[in-house]
């Protein structure tokens, strides 16, 4: 008699023999549990940072899928995060007025964020599907630059530069003795992010992902083989936008506010930095990128504060040094290391290519990030410009 061959705990510990969607789900659950376990090792401020990283990860995962898979370069994902944040805040305030609160209010508001960000993404995606490269980049840039103007013009709804404040979500009563509010926020952020990213990873490895790659490689060829290129691009943009919107909702949940000042062009470019240094198209890279863009400014800030510089010098350095470093990273990674961190790790560890990364990042203080990067080549098709000598 042979032993039955269903998955055992042993196979989960070592090299998992699961494949396809079950493996994705198992990986996702494990990473989520590890991340939630990690929150017990962190102090409240670190847990707050972890929640912010998770929120950023939602946005970067959506962006990396859009840029890496379909080749649509968006500079405006901060605006889509803001759409999610405002959707969340408006629904939350309406719920509060209607007497709903607690977990129900959170879930309803999250749906509000998804709907608003999804609609914004759908509209932008419809325009985006007809554009490529620099045109799409310019359009999305204009969107994020116009964001403060939109909130000012419709200040009746969005309250202008001040933005919206929402009611405080405390720790649910049954957990109150166990954890502090920062840890609770980190839990919520990790859970929501893990669901969002798992959905994205599922799309990425399935038929939808294949179609997105086909559109990126050669749109005409994709059309000829029956892939509806326009619809695929709009779908990708909408999903990416929803993911960013969930990130915005989480940020709003953590900070209890949303305002245009939080979603500037600089922030939008930071999201791009995260996905480029992580490696375009790689979800593990998006996680690493989110960690880097949250922790590096904080580390640099801590370091400059420790130098005890004169007040005016410190004021000039604050913020600017990290932007300088990010700018240099963006240039260097693009020019010499196009696969990003994920690509470089993938080359070192060939086995890693087979594994799927999904789940939430863990602060590097406790453990190395468990998310194993998946390398995706960013378009190897050369888009050389034809010399226009003969027509």
């Amino acid at each position: 008699m042979t032993a039955p061959s269903f998955p055992t705990f042993a196979s989960l510990n070592g090299a998992p023999r699961l494949t396809g969607t079950p493996r994705l789900l198992v990986t996702s659950v494990i990473l989520t549990l590890v991340a939630i376990g990690g929150t017990f090792l962190l102090d409240p401020y670190r847990n707050y940072q972890l929640a912010v990283i998770a929120a950023y990860f939602c946005a970067t995962a959506g962006l990396t899928m859009l840029v890496g898979l379909t080749g649509q370069l968006s500079l405006g994902h901060a605006a889509l995060m803001a759409a999610g944040g405002y959707g969340y805040a408006l629904t939350a305030n309406a719920s509060t007025d209607a007497g709903v609160d607690g977990v129900a209010r959170f879930l309803v508001s999250l749906v509000g964020a998804v709907v608003v960000a999804g609609l914004a993404g759908l509209l932008l995606g419809l325009a985006a599907a007809r554009l490529r490269g620099p045109y799409l980049a310019g359009l999305t840039l204009a969107v994020v630059i116009a964001l403060p103007a939109v909130t000012s013009v419709f200040s009746g709804v969005f309250r202008g530069d001040q933005g919206l404040q929402i009611a405080y979500d405390g720790v649910p009563p049954f957990l109150r003795t166990l954890i502090a509010v920062e840890q609770w926020q980190a839990w919520v952020a990790i859970l929501v992010t893990s669901v969002t990213v798992t959905v994205l990873a599922g799309l990425r490895r399935g038929r939808a992902g294949l179609r997105m790659r086909a559109v990126h490689g050669d749109e005409t060829a994709a059309r000829l083989s029956g892939v509806p290129a326009g619809r695929v691009k709009v779908f990708a943009f909408t999903m990416s936008s929803i993911s960013a919107g969930v990130g915005g909702a989480l940020l709003c949940f953590v900070t209890q506010s949303v305002s245009p000042g939080a979603y500037t062009l600089a922030f939008s470019l930071l999201l791009l930095v995260a996905v480029v240094i992580g490696g375009l198209g790689s979800i593990g890279g998006a996680a690493l990128g989110a960690v880097v863009v949250v922790l590096l400014p904080w580390l640099i800030g801590t370091a400059t504060a420790a130098l005890e510089l004169p007040a005016d010098v410190e004021q000039r350095l604050s913020g600017n040094v990290s932007v300088l470093v990010f700018g240099l990273l963006l240039i260097v990674v693009t020019a010499v290391w196009p696969g990003g961190i994920a690509g470089a790790l993938g080359r070192r560890m060939p086995r890693a290519r087979d594994q799927v990364a999904a789940g939430t990042p863990v602060a590097p203080a406790d453990a190395p990030p468990p998310a194993v990067p998946v390398t995706t080549s960013t378009s190897s098709v050369s888009h050389s410009i034809p010399t226009e000598t003969e027509r």
């Binding site: 010399t387 226009e388 000598t389 003969e390 027509r391």
Partner: protein, 238 residues
């Protein structure tokens, strides 16, 4: 006569198997040489390697005694090595006059430049009537005349001409090649003429080099080649 162009064990490839295998030959100054062979024999690749547009894997191109390995495309042109690429690369956005002027820029200034341009108009009269037409408005024959005139205007010493007959009526081809032969006789211009149209090429060439899959299969005076029926059947298809 000394050799103007010397190809020394040239190997060129685009990644996979080489397109040219250790090719060696030389062309004396003043000769008109036909480079013959079927599609894919490596004619265009050889032309591009001589002009510097593709880097050889090994071997050298020697022009007038100088090894050209490290000489950039534009500097090869300035040493007197002109190429008319396949497809009559007229700059479509520029006028006929501007295309010609572009060819003369590095060589002549002021009144001398205007005189050089006028000489080309005398050589190819149809072009003179279309001075201010844009490149994309020209017929195939006019484009070939313009591409050839633009290459000749700087008084090169070696002209690489790739498939001038492609897509043109036989009469037009004949008149263009006749101008070429006259110019070569008059000025001592050396010509390497790549052609699938063997009859046309051999009608003006002194000598023919036949390429077959990246190797030289025959190198002989033009009339010998035209008479060698076995060779014609095997490599030239007529």
């Amino acid at each position: 006569m000394s050799d103007l162009l010397e190809i020394d064990r040239l190997v060129v490839g685009y990644g996979g198997a080489p397109v040219l295998h250790e090719l060696s030959f030389s062309i004396p100054s003043g000769a008109v040489v036909g480079l013959l062979g079927a599609n894919g024999a490596g004619k265009t690749t050889l032309m591009r390697a001589i002009a510097g547009l593709v880097a050889p894997r090994s071997g050298s191109v020697v022009f007038d005694g100088d090894v050209l390995d490290d000489v950039a495309v534009e500097d090869r042109a300035r040493r007197g090595l002109a190429q008319v690429p396949e497809g009559r690369s007229v700059v479509a956005e520029l006028t006929v006059d501007e295309n010609l002027r572009l060819g003369a820029l590095w060589r002549f200034r002021g009144a001398e430049r205007e005189r050089a341009i006028d000489e080309i108009y005398e050589l190819f009269e149809p072009l003179a009537r279309r001075r201010s037409s844009a490149g994309h408005q020209l017929s195939g024959g006019e484009r070939q005349m313009l591409a050839l005139g633009r290459a000749l205007i700087a008084r090169p010493r070696l002209l690489l001409l790739d498939e001038p007959s492609l897509g043109l009526a036989p009469l037009v081809v004949a008149s263009i090649l006749e101008v070429l032969r006259d110019t070569a006789d008059r000025t001592g211009l050396t010509v390497l003429l790549a052609e699938q149209n063997v009859t046309s090429a051999l009608s003006i060439a002194d000598r023919g080099i036949v390429l077959g899959l990246g190797e030289i299969v025959a190198d002989a005076p033009a009339d010998t080649l035209a008479a060698d029926s076995a060779l014609r059947h095997a490599y030239l298809g007529f």
